[in-house]
Amino acid sequence: EENFLSLDDILMSQEKLPGRAESALPRLAVLLGQGAGSAESVPEGSKLEIPLWLAKGLHDSKRRIISVELPKIYKEAWRTVFNADANVVDLHKMGPYYYGFGSQLLNFENPENPEIAQTILQATGGGSVLPISDSVCFLQTFIARFRRIMDSSQNAYNEDTSALVARLDELERALFQVGQKGLNDFQCWEKGQASQITASSLVQNYGKRKLAEVDG
């Protein structure tokens, strides 16, 4: 699940989610970005944009405080685009944490009742639960884009990769960097740099090695 200490996960859970206040929230207007006065309350039924971590905390099983709806990117219309050709989509623009955020959304409705869980598994899709087809969609999207990521990360040596990476979401970017590192390490070995002793970058930054410049 989410790693508490992972910076990526923390940033990811800051992403906003559209929702609706189910009941009046006294004096929380400023907190939720709705009003200027400190005593204002959020009336029932008003639309809110809240970050994921807040939504998770407020969304208890009684469902009386907040209800959330899926961001557009995870809805039916976009799913057909993904099924058509997942490589085309600019995942970074869609929310830089497409996979992580989507996985969290899946876990949103935590039913108390195991039978409900079973029904969800059989894809009834009630309320704001993501039906089974969405989780399959993530996997398929990932698989479809995997090849492109692998090929581009293994073949772009010393080139400017910003164009390639621009359309990947954070998870894919991390994967890309792993691939690049593998490639760079190999090239380094091949050039024979692996057995040369080089000054560590930390030490160079200390500025202690200025003897050469001091003379003269």
Binding site: E1, K56, G57, H59, D60, S61, K62, Y99, S103, L106, N107, E109, N110, P111, E112, P114, A117, I120, L121, I132, S135, V136, F138, L139, F142, I143, F146, R147, M150, D151, S153, Q154, L171, A174, L175, V178, G179, K181, G182, L183, F186, E190, G192
Partner: protein
């Protein structure tokens, strides 16, 4: 271990590190391994291109040996440049095959794959990426079953 005796003019088998060291001190001449020959390497390269599976390589360290010998003892190896090109070609073909098989592995969501005749160098070059990608896939796949544990707190 014990090595020698070293008599001038007589070929002797030594570990690679010693051979390189002696060569650098100009005390010996290296004899290339019998597979490091243009004809043999051409055969291997063609077979690699033809087959879908990986051909067994003459030595599990062919990349490392080639690099060392060609860097330090290229004057002792006939047609060194051609050999370098041939080995590089074979390496490229094998890596491409590895990637292709990784891609089909991921697409079909297999759980188990067996790859024969790969050398460590190849595995390490492609391995980290593949294992990380598979980790992510696993996480995405386990999302298909919503958790039984509830995270909510009661107020």
């Amino acid at each position: 271990g014990d090595l020698g005796p070293f008599n001038p003019g007589l070929p002797v088998e030594v570990p690679v590190w010693l051979a390189i060291n002696l060569k650098q001190r100009q005390k010996c001449r290296l004899i290339p391994p019998e597979w490091m020959d243009v004809g043999k390497l051409e055969e291997i390269r063609d077979q690699e291109r033809k087959e879908d599976t990986f051909t067994p390589m003459p030595s599990p360290y062919y990349m490392e040996l080639t690099k060392l010998l060609l860097n330090y003892a290229s004057d002792n190896i006939p047609r060194a440049d051609e050999i370098r090109t041939l080995v590089k070609d074979t390496w490229d073909t094998r890596m491409a095959k590895l990637r292709l098989s990784a891609d089909s592995f991921v697409r079909q969501q297999e759980v188990h794959a067996k790859l024969d005749n790969l050398t460590l160098m190849e595995i390490n070059s492609a391995g980290t990426f593949l294992t990380q990608a598979l980790d992510h896939m696993y996480k995405l796949r386990t999302n298909l079953q919503p958790g039984e544990s509830s995270h909510s707190q009661d107020f």
